[in-house]
Amino acid sequence: MVLIRVVEEMIANKYRENKMRCPTHLCTGQEAISSAVSANLKIQDTVVSTHRSHGHYLGKGGNVDKMIAEIYGKSSGCSKGYGGSMHLIDLNVNFMGSTAIVGNSMPIGIGLGLSSKLENYNNISCVYFGEGCTEEGIFHESVNFAITKKLPVLFVCENNLYSVYSGLNVRQPKNRKIHKMVEGMGIKSFNGDGNNVIDVYKLTNKAVKYIKQNNKPAFLEFKTYRWREHCGPNYDNDIGYRTEKEYLDWKKKDPIKNYIKFLTNKNIFKLEYLKRIDKSIISKSIKAFNFAEKSKFPSKNDATKNVYA
C-alpha cells in the first residue's frame, strides 16, 4: 500500500520533467484495494487490469524497476517500451496485462478463468475494473459467461464515483448498486469500504474462499476515490466537475493514514517500525526511477519487431 502511494506520488512529482511521455493514470487514494486484494492472491493466480493499473501491478508483486522504466519508455521496461503506463505486464507474478480500452481486459480475464477451470480450478483469475466499465456491454457478457460456466473469477470493481470527469448521475440510474445488480445476474457478491484496508482484506478473503469452495465466481464492489486528476499528475478539484470539499472529505479517509493510526493505536506496530519500512520503500522507489532514467530507449528499428510472433 505504501509502496504504491510512494511510487504514484513520485510519478506525479516527476511527470512534469517530460520524461514520462505517455498518458498516465494514477491511483493515489485507492491503494487499499489493490494491496488487500493482492494479499489474498497466490502467485499462480492471474490478474488483468485497466488503464489505472499501477497499484494492481505493484500489489501483485510486479517488478517496480520495470514498471517505472516502462513509463519512461525504456527497453528495460516491463513491456520493453512498446506499451507504456497503460500496458503493463509481469509474467513472473502472473500479472497478465493491463489494457487501455474500458472493459477490454475483462473477458480476457474470463478466458484465464476458463483455462483454470479446465485445469481443475488450479488458480483464481482476478479482474480489476472501474465502475465506468460496468456500463460497457462487455462487462455483462463477461459476468454472464463466468456464472454460466462456473469459472473461478474474482471480479473487483473499484467504484471511485467518476469516469474521467463524469459523475455517476449521467451514467447510471440513481439508486444503482452495482453489487446488487450483479446479484440479479446470479453471482455471489460483496460490497465494502474500499478505503479500509482491513475491510477489503476480509471481504476478499471471504470471496476467495467462496470461489474455492464452490468453484464459482464472486464479485467485489469497493467504494473509493482517486485524489488526482483522471489522467496526469495534477490535482483538478478546481476545474468544476467535483468539489474541493468532496475531495477533502475523502482525503480524511486516507487508507494509509487510517491504517497506520489503527496499527499504532492497537499497538500492533510501533510508529518507528513503520517509519523504517517507509524508508526502505522510499529508497526502493528512488532506485526504480534511477534505473529507469539510466536505461536506454529501444532503438527505432525495434519498432518493426514483434508485429508477428
Binding site: P107, S115, S125, G137, I138, E141, N144, Y308
Partner: protein
C-alpha cells in the same frame, strides 16, 4: 497408384478440426452452434463426441466477450478456434480483435502470443441481404498483427486451417458459403499448407487473374471459353490475404504484363485495390496494360431475387473483361449462360441458409 480421395470443402474443414484436436489437447472449438444438430454446415461434426464438452462448446450470444475469452485462453497456451456462422455477426467483436488480439504480442514487447483462429463464413444468395453476406476481409488485412486466410479448395481448406490453428498469431479464416459444397482431392494425412503463399492454379501467358476465395471457381469456369478464344490465362489463387508473399505474383506479372484482380468484397478501399496498387508501384515497367479488378459493386447487398441479378460477378464478367483488356472482340451472346439461377450455388439449394 492409390485412388484419389475426393471430399467436400466442409468435410475438409471438419477433417482439419479433428486432426488438430487429435494432435494437440490444447486445441479448442467454440462458438454459437458448434455442437448443435447442424454443426456449422457439418464442419464441426463429431467434435463434441470425440473431444468432449470442455473442448467443444456452444456459447451465449456474446461475440465480443467470447473473443476475449479466446484471447485469455491463448495466454495460457491454448489454441482456440472460434466460429461465426456469418462474418457480419463478428462486427460486434472488433474491439477485442483489433485492440487486443492483433496487438497483444506487440504491445507487451513480444512476451506472449495469441494463436487464436477465427472462422468466419460469408453468405451469398437466397436473400442473405445486407447483413448476412458481407466479406470485410480488407478490414482485417488492414490491421497489422492479424493474418487473413481465404482458401478456395477443399485441399487448401484443410491444409490452411491446420496451419492457421497452429500459427502463433491470430488468424482470420474466411469460408465462402458457396465453397462448402465444392470438392477436390484431399490427402487423408496431416499436412500444413503454408500461409502467405499464393498458388498458381493454371499456367498461362497473356494475362494473370489474381483470385480471392470463391472467385477462383469463377475464374476456372472462365478458362474453357477463353482458351477457345486463344487467350492464355494464368490463374493465381491468393489463398492468404495478409500478409502476402508477392514473389509468385511478381513472376507471373513479369511474364504476362497484364493482370485482373477478382475479389468477393466491395469495390472500393478493398483488397483488390491494395493488390493493384502494390503491383503498380513495384512492377510498373512490366505492365503492358492498365490493371483492372472485378468485385462486388460498391453498394450494400440487396435482398430480392430481382435486385441481386447483377450483383455477384460470374465467369461471364471475367470473360468479358479479359477480352476487353486484350482488345479482343466477342459477341456477348457467345459467352455461355449460367446453368443455375443466379442466387444459388446449384439448383439443389433451396435455402434458407
Amino acid at each position: 497408384m492409390p485412388k484419389k480421395r475426393i471430399i467436400k470443402f466442409n468435410e475438409a474443414i471438419n477433417e482439419a478440426m479433428v486432426t488438430a484436436m487429435n494432435l494437440n489437447k490444447k486445441v479448442l472449438c467454440f462458438g454459437l452452434g458448434v455442437d448443435d444438430p447442424k454443426r456449422i454446415f457439418n464442419t464441426t461434426k463429431n467434435l463434441k463426441e470425440k473431444f468432449g464438452s470442455d473442448r467443444v462448446f456452444d456459447t451465449p450470444t456474446s461475440e465480443n466477450a467470447m473473443t476475449g475469452v479466446g484471447i485469455g485462453m491463448s495466454l495460457k497456451g491454448y489454441y482456440p478456434v472460434m466460429v461465426h456462422q456469418r462474418l457480419d455477426f463478428f462486427l460486434l467483436a472488433m474491439d477485442q480483435l483489433v485492440n487486443s488480439a492483433a496487438k497483444w504480442h506487440y504491445m507487451f514487447g513480444g512476451q506472449q502470443n495469441i494463436p487464436i483462429t477465427i472462422r468466419l463464413i460469408v453468405g451469398r444468395g437466397w436473400g442473405q441481404g445486407p447483413t448476412h453476406s458481407q466479406s470485410l476481409h480488407s478490414w482485417f488485412a488492414h490491421i497489422p498483427g492479424l493474418k487473413v486466410v481465404m482458401p478456395s479448395s477443399a485441399r487448401d481448406a484443410k491444409g490452411l486451417l491446420l496451419s492457421s490453428i497452429f500459427d502463433k498469431n491470430p488468424v482470420i479464416f474466411i469460408e465462402h458459403r458457396w465453397l462448402h459444397n465444392t470438392t477436390s482431392e484431399v490427402p487423408v494425412k496431416k499436412y500444413l499448407t503454408p500461409i502467405s503463399k499464393p498458388k498458381i492454379i493454371k499456367k498461362g501467358s497473356d494475362i494473370t487473374l489474381i483470385c480471392i476465395s470463391y472467385m477462383t471457381i469463377e475464374a476456372i469456369r472462365a478458362v474453357d471459353f477463353l482458351e477457345k478464344e486463344n487467350v492464355s490465362v494464368e490463374i493465381i489463387d491468393l489463398r492468404t490475404i495478409s500478409p502476402i508473399n508477392y514473389s509468385i505474383i511478381n513472376n507471373s506479372i513479369k511474364k504476362t504484363g497484364r493482370f485482373l484482380v477478382l475479389d468477393i468484397g466491395n469495390e472500393k478501399y478493398g483488397v483488390a485495390s491494395e493488390i493493384i496498387s502494390t503491383i503498380t508501384i513495384k512492377l510498373y515497367k512490366y505492365l503492358k496494360n492498365p490493371p483492372n479488378k472485378i468485385t462486388l459493386p460498391h453498394i450494400p447487398t440487396p435482398t430480392s431475387f430481382g435486385l441481386t441479378k447483377d450483383f455477384y460477378p460470374t465467369y461471364r464478367d471475367i470473360i468479358f473483361e479479359v477480352l476487353k483488356m486484350l482488345k479482343k472482340k466477342t459477341l456477348k451472346n457467345k459467352i455461355p449462360v449460367l446453368k443455375n439461377l443466379h442466387d444459388v450455388p446449384g439448383n439443389w439449394f433451396t435455402g434458407p441458409f
